[in-house]
Symmetry: C2
Amino acid sequence: MSQTMTSADLRARNLVRLLRAVHDAAAPFTRAEAARLLGIGRNTAAALVAELEQARLLHEVPAEAGGRGRPTTMLVPHPEGPLAFAVDFREDTWTLASVELGGAATELEGGEHDRTPRVFAEIRAAVARHETDRLAVLGFATSGPIRDGHRLHISHLGWDEVELGGLIGADWPTTVIDNDARLAGLAEARRGALRGRGTAMHFHIDFDIGGTLLIGGDAQRGAHNIAGEFGHMPLTGSALECMCGVRGCWSLDVGANALVRRFGARPGYGEGRELAREILRRAENGDTEAADALDANAAALGRGLGALANALDPEAISLSGLGVDLIRLRREVIEAHCAEGLMAFRRTDPPRIVAGTVGEAGPLTGAAEIAWDAILTEEWVRRRLQDA
Amino acid sequence: MSQTMTSADLRARNLVRLLRAVHDAAAPFTRAEAARLLGIGRNTAAALVAELEQARLLHEVPAEAGGRGRPTTMLVPHPEGPLAFAVDFREDTWTLASVELGGAATELEGGEHDRTPRVFAEIRAAVARHETDRLAVLGFATSGPIRDGHRLHISHLGWDEVELGGLIGADWPTTVIDNDARLAGLAEARRGALRGRGTAMHFHIDFDIGGTLLIGGDAQRGAHNIAGEFGHMPLTGSALECMCGVRGCWSLDVGANALVRRFGARPGYGEGRELAREILRRAENGDTEAADALDANAAALGRGLGALANALDPEAISLSGLGVDLIRLRREVIEAHCAEGLMAFRRTDPPRIVAGTVGEAGPLTGAAEIAWDAILTEEWVRRRLQDA
DNA sequence: CTGTTATGTTCTCACTGAGAACAAAAACTT
DNA sequence: AAGTTTTTGTTCTCAGTGAGAACATAACAG
């Protein structure tokens, strides 16, 4: 059985519901609106808000008058309230940001790194430099799958199941970690193009394709936290062998690797990225060979999306990274090949394919989301109230 | 916001938790065990049970003494309690059963049909013949996807988006419906080989492959209730065109159609099934051509499962229909090709591939599960208490 | 200036589950 | 056979919750 239910848990639950509503809201709302939203009385709302104010979780600020009636207050994050630190750890750079309840982020620091796990020491130092009493939780985004939540595997950096336990700060508060593609999808589901969609998918297209299935605003993790390698399904019939050890992966035909391979370059994570950008530019400027490469990329992308839509029936599919350019330059190609891959009876109502709106900040935003998820719980709120 | 929380809802929630525990339990348990299981006091448990007894939802029977201590009672479904009717509607037959809380099923009636939607009138008549005051909810399993929960599409029967609203009984209580492959998977997740698995998959292999992704004991439905057509992803590189309108579907290489095509028979749903069984028999008796066909089928199955495991990371995969035979006769082939399709770093811990244990009763069992799910809710229980 | 409207505040009330104390019924111990 | 131990059932009190009603307050409308 999941949660016990006592009349004290009732209050904790409603406190969390209120905090969650503030965190998830697209725009701030008033105390009276909160009462309506949660289906509780004005008196109860007042009691909840008072408790959260005292625990420095919420703050009331006078709302500008907006019609008749007694003026009320807006519910905003407390200025001295808890903060989540979010880290976006990429192949050669990292960024540290501070995120308050509701999602407002402030970049604190960033840097490059030498592609060895020593970078975690740098990040620990940066966190230490910015640490405050308000720091309540940390969320990490990394590239590469993280088996069971603590063994990081980044094949192109040669990191083979690096144990994270010793690399993150032992003195840190609750720390959660997940991979960038999944967190970018979560960010779209919570604060971007997929907001409000029940079932949706997100794909980040870089050299490789990573993605996630989003159900009810939550990213699916699988049994060992390594779900999401949609790029390693043989959806386009390639005969090549993939770096992952499998033959025919979808990623061999979609993304920067596929683009540069056509121009004789070896798939790689350094100058390959430059070349991929160059190919995009050339295609935009009418170079036919580059345009062909782009067409092939878009077609393979569409074909795979159609296949996945048959299986998982998403309402919408958002793309980030190179996917944004592909939508901008080759939407029709993607959609045509997607339709071709869709079972005939589904073609009347294909999934909407959209560019992500969170953009580059996806992994960071998603890391902040899982960080806040980790503490917006009944246990944490209850403890916070006791301490105050 | 999902559910409001008042102190009256508290009781309703605990009543449902108790009913749910009884329904889901592998073996009946005592009142004292229930208190421990739900994390509530013995006094509260007594109050909950008394209310549910009065509402004829639970019944207490003396438990045989099992050690020291004052004797207690087992909690069992009330003998006059509500019943769910479950219908398994197949391509040419149907079955009606009555299922009590906890899942015990009694077959009531069954029959053949003429493959037109007129069969629904037969089923309505059968339900009417067996209707009792105890009937509380109906669950239907059909083949074919059911778009938005009410438009049934069975291509091989020529049913093109048949509207179900007029076909099921207008005078019936709550009625829920879903497709057979998904419900077979749900049955495995709730009462079969996938019980207790967080993320798992189930595939029913017949002529086609249908399946479902199971997360936390729930079958995923997608945005339009038509998720699960895993058989219509191009996972094995077939060049053929599929009945579904797409080229290269996995189903073209796995299942009865793929078996019989090798022997020159047209894929079809009549004598094709006989031939498929015949081929299995021949393969078991050493016929090399039949054995080759079986090998190819198993290999294609394994290849696809590996690809899907990369994307969705299931802990276990269960199979029903022809899949059970394939596991029995060609487990090594399936597992070898699954491993080949798995990303190298996943091969140390491949998903376990198991035969379903609910067997033929899968769709019926799953239909009963969604039926009970529909009424094991706070609203329904509360109304039932008021009426009693 | 007065009426209307929306919200805040205060108070009572029904209900819930916790917890403690005690009762009951079985098995174990001597 | 009688007392002891163990487990569960029962009863009672109690703190806490949110609903609801009545009233207070502060803006706007005419």
